[in-house]
Every structure is written in structure tokens, then in C-alpha cells.
């Protein structure tokens, strides 16, 4: 079952990926961009036993038994890190397994993925954290379990935070198990101060969401769909922010989607609240109008917002209000999607399309690379309290290769993820990840195999 059992490498190879474990790798001619150090130059990089040993002119004669990649016109960045992907395993292996999830992440350029606790059983004890760590050890993608804040579905009892902390977990999420009352959320935030941990909240006031399926507005009215008002989010965001202000604890808000939420986050930051937030590619690329055809591939949580929301999210990314972009990867089976719109579970897959969608939305294919890499690689690691992935001599080689000139069409049939529920099927995207280098693995996409000398 584990990565070491070859299941993952076999899956990648069956898609014509090049999978290597090489001692010495020479990356030739790439543009190196690392916003954390301000690095932006074209140079060769030498990797030996998983570490970057040299950046600059490299004398090939001194090397023996090395693999060389010709990365001229390509960009090398710190490896991408996702914030909250649903990998299904354990319990929902028909949607995704750790193996297919890891391959999907690698294909999207991610070297690390935080996975949500809403598995079956929940990630709410040290044992299950250990199981996931064992299953994914040695994989080319770091799989980082996020634990559940609550240990019961009603959101009343706290998980054993200290026990789980000692397994290396730094972030606790309320996904699927929102705190039953503001009092319980308050105590949870306070308890996290035991180790200065972060609560990652998917803030939605369920009583206001009231079973809604389309963002309340002209579109939900026109379609007769049960409305999900934006205040369901902003009310919950306000509550969480006030509790974070009161407790002084660290709060991360997932998949923020409305103008009002952004205003509240700015208000809270001015008052010193330790709050970070992310949004998703689909919320900055699409609006509620996408749901007009009753296509379940546009059913998300929170629902797609208005054009005003979308524009505000993009502005908030540019001005730094939004720290990171999370793919918010939720694979579903085809059967789950071929039902009435209201019955389709919320969520879309996203790991394999995130960088392309971001590049398209944020720069019409010519994005500000520093910004894009900050959103996908730098800030996520900071928020998740993971070691940074830095392009510097002596650092761990944790890298993503991207082709800034690529033009490609999204075809769900070619995904690694088991979920075909993409909101971007048929889209033509700029910028593509060509592979990752991490933990001694070199993974190269089929369309980039000719880069290997």
C-alpha cells in the first residue's frame, strides 16, 4: 500500500512519466525564481543526494554518473505546497487514494500537500496520523496530515491536541466538524496556545447557508436554486476573527470567497489578529453564472460568488490580503456527480490545474512569477509551519519545474486524480508544471522527457 510498494511509481510510469531516483542531478539553464530570497537569475543547479550543492557554473568533467536536464526557457521554483486537499483515504478510496492523490499533486507541480481530516475514520487521533505518515513515507510528495479540531461529529469535544502535536502536526482544521458553539470555538483557539498551533477554519454559518446550493443573488433567483448567501461565510468569518482577537490565537481561514470576508480580515489585521487566509483557483476564475447549466462540476463549498466577489478576491491577492491559493482539491466519483445538482457533493478537483488557472487569471498567461510562487509555495509553508523550500546552496532540493510558454487543454480523462469533477474541463491554459524534484526523486512529465540528456 505504501509508496515504497511501487504502486505510485507504476502509476506514474503508466502515464509515461519519467521516474528516477538519482544521486546527482544537473539542472541546466533554468531561470531560478525564489521570492523568499529575492533570487531571480538564470543559472545551473547541481543536486547531490537530495541537497542543492551548487548554483552557478558547473564543471561537468568533475561529475560522474549524473543525470542532466536541459531547462533552458523553463522556470525552477521552490516546490508548491497545497493547503487542504481531500485524499479520500482512509474511507473514501473510490474518490481518491493516497497514491492517486500524490500522483495528482506531483503532476500539478506540488511537492507537498496538506490533507484534510474528513476521512473515515477522521484524522482525530495520533494513531491515524501515524498511519498516514507510514503510508506516505518516502513518497516524492510530502503528505502532511491536518488534524481535526473536534473528535466528534457534533463539534463538541476537542481532539487530543498535545498527542497529535507530538506526531508533528501543527494545524488543526474544523472541516466537516465545525465547532458546535462559539464557546467551543473559543476554547479550541485557546487550547491551541499550548503549542502556539493554528486553527484552519472553513468558516460557514450553516444555519444561514440553510441547505443552499448556489450563491444567493440574481443567478440563484433565476435558476430557482436554494440560495446560499455570502453572509453565511462573512458572519462565520466575523465570529472567528473576533474570537481570534479575544484569544490571541492563530487563525487561518480556508477558501475565503466574498467581499465582506475580505473587509473583515483587513479590519482584524489592523487590530493585530494573527489571521491568514487562502482562496481557490475556481473562486478567482469563475462566478455563479457557471452554474446556469445545472452542471455539478461547478458545485463548490463555498459556492462560486458574484463577479464583484471574484474581482475583489483577485484584488486581495494582489494587495496581499489573501496569503495563499489552495487548490481545494475534492475528488468525487463519476456516479456522485451524475445526479441532480442539489445532490452532487460540494467540491471540485484542482491540484492538476491550479498553476495554469492562476497564471491565466492573474496575468493572462504572463503572471508576476514572484506573486504566483509566493501564493503556491512560500506562504503555504509559512502558514503550515513547514520547513521552507529554498533555492540556495545547502538547502534541501524541493523544486518544481514549470514551462512558462506551455499551452495545454484540460482533459479530465488524463488526470491522475480519480476525480473527473473539474470546473475547467476543456479550458486552454497557459503555464504547465513539467515535473518535481523532491526527496531524492526526479519526476518528469511525458511532454518534457526530451529535456533529459
Amino acid at each position: 500500500m505504501s509508496w515504497r510498494s511501487k504502486q505510485g511509481t507504476d502509476l506514474l510510469k503508466s502515464h509515461d512519466w519519467l521516474v528516477q531516483r538519482s544521486q546527482t542531478v544537473l539542472l541546466h539553464g533554468a531561470r531560478l525564481i525564489d521570492p523568499s530570497t529575492g533570487l531571480d537569475k538564470t543559472a545551473d543547479v547541481l543536486i547531490d543526494r537530495g541537497k542543492i550543492t551548487k548554483i552557478g557554473k558547473i564543471n561537468r568533467d568533475e561529475l560522474k554518473g549524473y543525470v542532466e536536464l536541459d531547462l533552458r526557457d523553463k522556470i525552477l521554483t521552490p516546490g508548491f505546497q497545497d493547503m487542504h486537499a481531500h485524499f479520500g483515504q482512509p474511507g473514501h478510496e473510490d474518490r481518491e487514494t493516497l497514491t492517486t492523490g500524490i500522483c495528482a499533486a506531483a503532476a500539478g507541480g506540488y511537492t507537498g500537500v496538506s490533507i484534510t481530516p474528513d476521512t473515515d475514520p477522521y484524522i482525530d487521533n495520533a494513531g491515524i496520523v501515524k498511519w498516514i505518515q507510514d503510508q506516505t513515507s518516502g513518497s516524492p510528495v510530502n503528505v502532511v496530515p491536518v488534524a481535526s479540531v473536534a473528535r466528534d461529529d457534533e463539534g463538541r469535544r476537542l481532539t487530543e491536541v498535545d498527542d497529535i502535536f507530538h506526531m508533528g502536526v501543527r494545524v488543526f482544521s474544523d472541516t466537516g466538524r465545525p465547532a458546535a458553539t462559539p464557546e467551543i470555538m473559543r476554547r479550541a483557539l485557546e487550547y491551541m496556545k499550548l503549542h502556539n498551533l493554528t486553527i484552519s477554519s472553513r468558516a460557514q454559518e450553516t444555519s444561514l447557508a440553510a441547505g443552499g446550493v448556489v450563491r444567493e443573488g440574481p443567478v440563484s433567483t433565476r435558476l430557482g436554486q436554494k440560495p446560499w448567501p455570502s453572509i453565511a461565510e462573512s458572519m462565520a468569518v466575523a465570529k472567528s476573527l473576533l474570537l481570534a482577537l479575544h484569544t490571541g490565537s492563530k487563525l487561518h481561514l480556508e477558501a475565503v470567497s466574498s467581499v465582506e470576508s475580505l473587509d473583515l480580515i483587513r479590519w482584524a489585521r489592523e487590530r493585530g489578529v494573527k489571521v491568514t487566509c487562502d482562496t481557490t483557483p475556481h473562486h478567482i476564475a469563475l462566478t455563479d453564472e457557471a452554474t446556469e447549466t445545472f452542471d455539478g462540476n461547478f458545485k463548490t463549498s463555498p459556492p462560486l460568488g458574484s463577479k464583484r466577489d471574484k474581482d475583489a478576491l483577485i484584488a486581495a491577492i494582489m494587495d496581499g490580503t489573501i496569503d495563499a491559493v489552495a487548490a481545494d482539491h475534492v475528488p468525487l466519483t463519476d456516479e456522485e456527480c451524475l445526479v441532480e445538482y442539489s445532490l452532487v457533493p460540494d467540491g471540485v478537483v484542482g491540484l492538476e490545474t491550479a498553476v495554469g488557472v492562476l497564471a491565466k487569471v492573474l496575468g493572462k498567461g504572463k503572471p508576476d512569477w514572484n506573486k504566483l510562487i509566493t501564493l503556491l509555495a512560500i506562504r503555504p509553508r509559512e502558514i503550515l509551519e513547514l520547513p521552507p523550500a529554498t533555492i540556495a546552496t545547502g538547502s534541501t532540493a524541493d523544486l518544481t519545474i514549470i514551462d512558462p510558454e506551455a499551452v495545454w487543454t484540460v482533459d479530465p480523462a488524463r488526470f491522475f486524480t480519480k476525480g473527473h469533477n473539474t470546473a475547467f474541463g476543456g479550458w486552454q491554459l497557459p503555464v504547465k508544471s513539467l515535473g518535481i524534484i523532491n526527496r531524492g526523486w526526479t519526476l518528469i512529465a511525458p511532454d518534457a522527457r526530451m529535456l533529459v540528456k
Binding site: G217, P218, T221, G224, Q225, F294, L338, V339, E340
Partner: protein
């Protein structure tokens, strides 16, 4: 004059010429209903399934009569939630029926967009007989047929929908259809029962029934579901009747000719007083008769259209 539409999923995108074609044909079908033998052999070769995923006795009977008067073979299928409980999906259910050689599905479903799903993934032609609070195009067309009989055309006709707009399956179809045909549509009800941003559909909003009456030629009074008072959408039946009940006193005070429609079934004494429902302003029974004629016209035109 085949329709531009293959299915009848809703009136939102149905062009004026299609609506006119349906209403014109319906006039001819209404005459058939008055014959000593009110039946024609036209759809002898057509098998229609009435797939009702929620109860609606009136709509089902109206469709069934229309189908039988066109000599179609009719199969009734009521699933409620039972097949969903068994894990069978809507698409599986209909594909199963299709394997038994059917041509047309008339579907009633509690969830918006269910007929659109069917039209996309199944081979049959689909007629929407009401999908949640989305559309109920045949009801709107029979309302329109009735209004055309009274007024001749829809130009500048002022029609106000009164009551629970949010949860109505009739409201949107009426708004789309009447607006397409040049009528001026308004809605009237408590703010809790009117969906946000409905002005974007080109309708006026009234919260005062007397004002609405003063500015309308037609009131289409919608049914109030009693469970709405339990979800806090209005305080009591008594207060609803006082503020939005259509009574003969209100109509007398307005002192103008007015036509009253109601899609049924009526809560007498709540949204509509009995003496108004049975009174000279009411065309409610005419709506019921027209329902069969309109549905015959739709079945005829959809069954005969290109796939």
C-alpha cells in the same frame, strides 16, 4: 412550424414564436376536447412516461388526459424518494425505462434542474412538469392561454404574481413567458417570500397588495404552503390573510375589472377568499380546462419535433 426547442425544460429560453405556436395549437386542441369523441389518433405510436418524483395529482391527471386524448400509450411512474433510497440514480431510472422503448418523459421532480440533467444524459424528449422552485412551463403556458382568451394578447398587460414567490415553481415560468410576450410582470408578497435580486428578471416588487391591485390587470395568486410559517417566513395565517389575502373587499375597493388566476390547489380563506375564487373575476376553472389543451399542444409539438 416545428418548435425551436427539442425539449420543454423551461420558458426562460423559449422564443416568442414558439410560445405563440404552442398557444395557437392549444386553441385547436381545446376544440377537440369539446367534440362528442374528444380524442384523436395522432400519437398512437408514441409512448409517454409520466415520471413523478413527487406527488402532484392535478398535474399528473392533466398530462395523462392530454396524452390519452392524443392516443399515446401512457405509463405512470411515481418514485417519490423510494428509488433514490435504493441507491438508484435518476439517470439509471430513466435509462431503465428507455430500455423498454419509450419516446417521451414528462417529469415532475422536487429539485431544480433535474429535467436538464435528463435531457443531457438520456435519449428521450423531456417535458418538465415542475422542478422544485425552478420552472413549471406547462402551468405558465396554460395561464397564458387563459389570459390570451380574456385579453387577446399580452402587450402591456400588467400581471402580478401574489404570494410565495421564493418557493413557487410557477413564478419563474410565468415571469419568463409573460415577459417574452411583452407583458409587464410584478410580484407581491412579504419580503421573506420574494427571492433576492428578482428585479434583475425585469419585474417590479410590491409589498402592498392594494398598491399592486391598483397597478395590475391580472392577479395570479400563488399557493401558500402552511409549513412556511414554521420556518419563520411569515408570522401567522391570520396575519398573512390580513396583509396579502385576496378578498372581495379589496377587489371591491379597487373598483376595477381584474382577472384572478390561481394554479391550485387553493387555500380558501388564506391567500384567496372563496367568494373571489368562485366569483366573476376568477378564471380558475378555465385554467384547468386549458391545462389539458395546452399540454396536448406541447405533447404534439414536442413529439413531432426533430430530435
Amino acid at each position: 412550424m416545428a418548435l425551436k426547442s427539442t425539449h420543454l425544460l423551461g420558458l426562460r429560453d423559449v422564443p416568442a414564436e414558439d410560445i405563440t405556436a404552442i398557444l395557437d395549437s392549444a386553441v385547436a386542441f381545446k376544440e377537440i376536447l369539446s367534440r362528442p369523441v374528444p380524442k384523436v389518433p395522432t400519437l398512437r405510436h408514441v409512448t409517454v412516461v409520466n415520471a413523478f418524483f413527487e406527488n402532484s395529482t392535478r398535474t399528473r391527471i392533466s398530462f395523462e388526459l392530454a396524452e390519452k386524448r392524443l392516443s399515446a400509450d401512457v405509463v405512470n411512474f411515481s418514485a417519490s424518494a423510494s428509488s433514490v433510497n435504493k441507491g438508484e440514480t435518476l439517470i439509471d431510472t430513466i435509462r431503465n425505462l428507455e430500455a423498454m422503448k419509450i419516446d417521451l418523459v414528462v417529469m415532475r421532480h422536487p429539485l431544480p434542474g433535474a429535467p436538464n440533467l435528463l435531457a443531457k444524459y438520456c435519449d428521450s424528449k423531456v417535458i418538465n412538469a415542475g422542478d422544485g422552485s425552478h420552472e413549471h412551463p406547462t402551468q405558465a403556458l396554460l395561464d397564458m392561454m387563459t389570459l390570451r382568451e380574456v385579453y387577446g394578447d399580452f402587450n402591456k398587460l400588467r400581471v402580478t404574481l401574489v404570494g410565495d414567490i421564493s418557493h413557487s415553481r410557477v413564478a419563474l415560468s410565468n415571469i419568463f413567458g409573460l415577459t417574452t410576450m411583452g407583458a409587464q410582470v410584478a410580484v407581491c408578497g412579504p419580503p421573506t417570500l420574494i427571492p433576492r435580486d428578482i428585479e434583475h428578471l425585469g419585474v417590479k416588487v410590491y409589498h402592498d397588495l392594494d398598491e399592486a391591485i391598483a397597478k395590475s390587470d391580472v392577479l395570479n395568486v400563488l399557493r401558500i404552503q402552511l409549513e412556511r410559517q414554521d420556518s419563520g417566513l411569515f408570522p401567522s395565517k391570520r396575519e398573512y390573510h390580513q396583509t396579502f389575502g385576496v378578498t372581495s373587499e379589496r377587489l371591491a375597493a379597487s373598483n376595477k375589472p381584474l382577472t384572478i388566476l390561481h394554479p391550485g390547489p387553493i387555500n380558501r380563506g388564506l391567500e384567496l377568499d372563496g367568494d373571489v375564487a368562485d366569483g366573476p373575476h376568477s378564471v380558475i376553472l378555465q385554467q384547468v380546462t386549458n391545462g389539458v389543451a395546452v399540454r396536448m399542444a406541447i405533447l404534439y409539438l414536442i413529439a413531432g419535433g426533430e430530435k
